[in-house]
Symmetry: C2
Subunit: 209 residues, 2 copies
Amino acid sequence: MSLLMENQFCELPPDKAIDTKTFLDTVSHIPAFFDCLGSKVFSIIKSDINGNITKIRAVYVTNPAKYTTLEDIVVAEREAHGAEWPKIGATLALMWLKRGLRFIQILLQSLADGDRDENNPNLIRVNITKAYEQALKRYHGWIVQKIFNAALLAAPYRSNFLKALSKGEEVKEEDCLANMRQFLVNYTATIDAIYEMYTNLNAELDYTV
Amino acid sequence: MSLLMENQFCELPPDKAIDTKTFLDTVSHIPAFFDCLGSKVFSIIKSDINGNITKIRAVYVTNPAKYTTLEDIVVAEREAHGAEWPKIGATLALMWLKRGLRFIQILLQSLADGDRDENNPNLIRVNITKAYEQALKRYHGWIVQKIFNAALLAAPYRSNFLKALSKGEEVKEEDCLANMRQFLVNYTATIDAIYEMYTNLNAELDYTV
Ligand SMILES: CCCCCCCCCCCCC/C=C/[C@@H](O)[C@H](CO[C@@H]1O[C@H](CO)[C@H](O)[C@H](OS(=O)(=O)O)[C@H]1O)NC(=O)CCCCCCCCCCC
Ligand SMILES: CCCCCCCCCCCCC/C=C/[C@@H](O)[C@H](CO[C@@H]1O[C@H](CO)[C@H](O)[C@H](OS(=O)(=O)O)[C@H]1O)NC(=O)CCCCCCCCCCC
């Protein structure tokens, strides 16, 4: 589980404010997660998420002192952009990024919880589908949903996926899942805090692509 | 047909050498073609093709005098990269770019020729499928082929597509098709010349993605 363990998210402070720089540095290791799925098909998703991160970073570097926390950015953009907000800038990028992060979170959680298709114990389609339904499906029109269903066929075997997450090392399955649970603690808390912020600031949109 | 007519390809010289700078300047207008398909689904393809062009340009600008023609680049990379070539650098980018260009060429040619599904005269799925089968299908594994079939459902109506190519102007269908035929002359010759070069230099690969 090196990929995840080496890049753990930080514990949140009591006010759940997320430090922008720390977040960007940690989250920039997440796109590599899609390489663990093993097929070129997923590199498209990797670039979408990479694009989100680049966009947020581009706003951050214009004024690091002003944009100390993620909330600082979203609030500043709300003031700057009027009616176009929140479908703009880093606010939009983070809106989509959090959905991709949530997808990964639910997928890992589902594996850690032992959700399985008993007839196909070495497939992770049930776990991917669960994550997709909870994190993304409602934001996708029926054509992208169909594309998801086709892409699902490229999902790796469970054993290969766990091995890839461990950077190819032979780690015992139980150790791998334990690492996953460890990683999920701060990761989930961070994502929850971003979702909460979007709700509180009324920054969430539900248009479909 | 403004989109195409305003950015026509140049006539080739007798030796069919393609001037790199002219080619890059003209071809950089092609990705906008995918916006005419009207759905966000196709922006993925637009970025793939944009990436190819960026990669070729990046090599060109390192030494414009050395890389006057596209063939100069491919030959120089063959010498520089040994066994990794041709799956590398601008050679790889142009290999894929030409397939995307061929896809567009066959699609336009099929429309200009009046190929139609008589039961659905306002759909262009037959034309898109023809272009896909001739230009791309053999380089795509079965999962990407399935994704293509799903994406095909997002194809625009014929009338909307022609209107988008005319940048929203109400152009008579016959005028639009005449413009298309005009555009196709140098465009097709250019693509043919690139394919010929890849055959002659033994630079073509047929792996699937
Ligand atoms: C030749 C044949 C090919 C035919 C064409 C095929 C084309 C296929 C395209 C399918 C869609 C791929 C997924 C990408 C979807 C993206 O459209 C969405 C929205 O993307 C957002 O859009 C915004 C504007 O609305 C901004 O541009 C955001 O950008 S901004 O930064 O500029 O603001 C951008 O992220 N992102 C998403 O839905 C996020 C997806 C995240 C993770 C998904 C995990 C799924 C894993 C599946 C495993 C089985
Ligand atoms: C949340 C749910 C989402 C789930 C995930 C969905 C993901 C969907 C992904 C589907 C594939 C999209 C099409 C892109 C395919 C690309 O993979 C291929 C090869 O792409 C090449 O690959 C090389 C390495 O092998 C280099 O990286 C090249 O890059 S390099 O420049 O670095 O050398 C690169 O262009 N290009 C292609 O096949 C070219 C396609 C061109 C045009 C196609 C027109 C089709 C129109 C269809 C109309 C109906």
